[in-house]
Symmetry: C2
Subunit: 515 residues, 2 copies
């Protein structure tokens, strides 16, 4: 049963000791495990050693082992009854700045047992990373930040276990994927150097800690794995996503894009990887305008506009009356406005084309996306020219980053065989729209692959695979971090990308065809 | 300075971080250390990680590291000011059944700073290993045994540090060498299977623990290394002695002998090792007779008898009037009695030769070693025929074990280039006397090398050498433990060895010459 997923649960049967083989109980088990795991060195905690002789004799030298890899070493976390009903479990954690998502997974089956999410309680200390790092520098500030998140996680662990009917004592692993700052808060490691040039994390490879050291309440010998980072701006959440996308085994060149306030990009294959991150602005996160929102009920996630009639077809996530618009909705909207001539190539609203949807407010042109009669609020839902400008800056930044990183490596967009888009944004975005505004390069739609919450999914996969720690490290150690040099060259490329889809329309042949 | 002894203290200077090399503080230090130590993987505790960024910046990316090897992994225990006066120290412990000896050593200089010894407090729970293992099986018995020894050690640690003027916080390592049972008590690991066939320890390679896990009060991240064993009857004290004797590097074949109630023998070189242990009886530990004592003031440690006059020359350890005799004194005595014809080849007292030194008591012949007028007690100090028989059984057992182990390997005594004799016994014994009674083979005296407290000395050497953990493991893993099969063959060899020096006198040509 434990072999089903080739994971961290391993069944072992040994020859009982005899005068001819008087090696110690621990040595006997380590040897049998090492043969099965094809590794050199296995260690166990003193606490387990104290119970080992009695357990091995009770089970006649067979047992079910829960193991984990800590750096190059393998840790035997516990031995349990091979016949008993114990279901060893692990918890994957997506440690987001605003939201934390956790999933309880059976370590023998690899299956999801329950899932839970909560708003990151650290928001009380600071809404964003920067504010929290400042908070961390106050007396006891870092301790507070850690206590907040640990308390939240411990509560969620209880909920997850309760829902699945599993004892806390059977949770042996926790895999935590978060950005570099969140990981520092979680470990209570000083974060202040992350935001000061030259932007140095305290640690790249935290590895695995005993749950107790961190303050997480699981099995007493449980290990908490904190995903490694590739720098202050390329965190464990992205490494987890890259692992989920298979960058440790992909032969072809792929790109992973995660879009938020920062746009993070990873390019490469199992031989080499280049990463970079750049400010993309808040436009793509829903922070762009008065009506900008993150995806949720009543939020517009797609827009289409009929070419002839310029009639809007609005879709909200749950089909309820619209009250706002998310990042992917904005991209759809901008694409449709552009393709129907309501937005010109410089991204300006065209009065003649917008007709009665145009109004002035605060000295700025506004486009009415939803008339008051159709909205959830009864008021017109509008976006301003400034909102559109902001979106265009974001899309231009994204494109310029992609252009820079491929240029650095010396490949063209055509060499990319898969284009993974991480996060909620990636789940809702329609690649065709992103291409239409020149945010993503003009490649076949089928190569764009939404990953969903890839930070969580990578952590779940770690709980399922015995090679995960090595695979993840193979990704991390290959990453070359490209510091974006915002020089004149970059600014020139950025300026060219601020057009719709681009000054050089030849780069977007399929868009030119649609106009 | 740290390089002087190539030990566990390593000075490191790094390039400070820059935009071109934004690796984390921990990664930067790990890399620099790995290059210096020529190793792959280095880890550090979370507690150290919390302080690392601030310390590295304060010292401008130079630091003095205290490291230790834990299995195949290297542990960075602490970083200290490279210019500061901190003197990192370690403590070697000879964890004896009856006596515990500890030495505080400077980790940078390798020099002894202070030394301390105390009677093992576990004697209150049981005088010997067997009694203590029975005690361990009572409720809380094992906890009591551990608490006793830890309390004693912690007190001694305080004394050692006080004497040397060193803070507890600067003690980073403890190396503990004891027999297998003592090591189990120390770790509070169940010992009961050690004494039940097939005599299985819970663990062969305990490795290193955090001091806190064991209960020893040192630096919070200090590591406590417990010497590995090669079975229930070949403990860490002997492995430590073998390490001190250089079995990890000796090209020539050597023997290590430790004589107590058990005689333990290790034979081999850096390619192969065979160990065995057998009951030698109490005769060689001073437990042989009414006047038998362990070495101390007023105890006879050597005896010589003039051939013509049969006059006794008695020497006591501190030249004070004699009150008893230790193991090495007994061997001297027996050798002299034999060489002067007072003892025949069967080990019987010869009345004609003993003259007025012979008396009868309790139906047994007694030899007066010291007349009442010369003794500390005012009474005659005597040994009986039974005492001599007991000694002869012990010497025969020793010789038979040596004969068996060399026979097993297929070598002769002549192939042995060094004959190390461990323990207090080894320090006082005169090889010539042991050869005369046929206890040790008839080899050149110069190859017999007393090691003194080799258990302690091996532990001290571990504190001085960065390759110690690997060297010690290379010894342990090569040991083949030879279970002594007490069959008719063995009994025949034993019977032949009960003569003085041996039934086959040709084996002891230099003794035959002396008679």
């Amino acid at each position: 049963m434990s072999e089903k997923i080739n994971g961290w649960v391993v069944d072992i049967a040994m020859e009982p000791p005899s005068l001819d083989d008087n090696s110690a109980d621990a040595a006997r088990l380590e040897k049998a495990l090492a043969e099965k795991l094809k590794t050199g060195s296995i260690t166990m905690d003193l606490e387990l050693l104290k119970h080992l002789p009695e357990r091995l004799r009770r089970w006649n030298y067979t047992c079910r082992c829960v193991v984990f890899q800590v750096r190059d070493n393998w840790q035997l976390i516990d031995v349990v009854d091979p016949e008993g009903g114990t279901c060893p479990a692990g918890i994957a954690v997506d440690l987001g700045t605003t939201r934390v998502v956790m999933r309880l997974v059976g370590l023998d089956s690899g299956e999801t047992l329950s899932e839970s999410a909560f708003d990151n309680p650290q928001t009380a200390a600071g809404p964003d990373i920067l504010a929290r790092i400042h908070h961390a520098q106050k007396t006891e500030g870092l301790q507070e930040l850690q206590a907040m998140i640990i308390k939240g996680i411990n509560k969620a662990v209880g909920d997850l276990c309760g829902e699945a009917g599993i004892s806390l004592e059977h949770v042996y692993l926790m895999a935590v994927a978060g950005n570099t700052a969140m990981a520092h808060f979680f470990m209570r490691v000083p974060p202040q150097w992350l935001i000061r040039e030259p932007y140095i994390p305290a640690v790249n490879r935290p590895g695995a800690f005993e749950a107790e050291e961190i303050g997480v309440v699981l099995h007493t010998s449980a290990r908490v794995f904190v995903f490694p980072n590739a720098g202050s701006y390329f965190g464990g959440d992205l490494i987890s996503g890259a692992y989920y996308a298979g960058f440790h085994e992909n032969e072809e060149i792929s790109v992973l894009v995660d879009v938020g306030t920062n746009a993070e990009v990873l390019l490469g294959n199992r031989e080499w990887l280049v990463a970079c991150a750049g400010a993309a602005g808040p436009a793509l996160e829903g922070g762009v305008s008065e009506i900008g929102m993150t995806a949720g009920p009543g939020v517009i996630d797609s827009v289409s506009i009929k070419t002839e009639t310029r009639e809007f077809e609005i879709h909200t996530i749950d089909n309820s009356p619209p009250k706002g618009i998310c990042g992917s909705g904005m991209i759809d909207l901008a694409a449709q406005l552009f393709l129907t001539g309501m937005l010109d190539i410089r991204g300006r609203l065209v009065p003649e084309a917008c007709g009665n949807r145009l109004k002035e407010a605060d000295g700025l042109r506004h486009l009415i996306v939803v008339f008051g009669r159709d909205s959830a609020t009864g008021c017109d839902l509008t976006i301003s020219q400034a909102d559109l400008d902001s979106l265009i800056r974001s899309k231009a930044a994204m494109y310029t980053i992609l252009e820079t990183i491929t240029g650095y490596v010396g490949i063209s967009f055509k060499d990319i065989s898969a284009f993974y888009v991480a996060g909620t944004f990636g789940s809702y975005i329609r690649p065709r729209s992103a291409i239409s505004i020149g945010m993503l390069p003009d490649l076949a739609e089928k190569i764009f692959l939404p990953l969903g919450n890839s930070s969580l999914k990578g952590a779940v996969r770690l709980l399922q695979s015995r090679s995960a720690v090595a695979d993840i490290e193979s990704i991390r150690e290959r990453i070359t971090y490209l510091e974006l040099n915002v020089n004149q060259d970059f600014m020139n490329r950025f300026s060219a990308a601020k057009f719709l889809p681009h000054t050089d329309a030849g780069r977007f042949p399929t868009v030119a065809r649609d106009i």
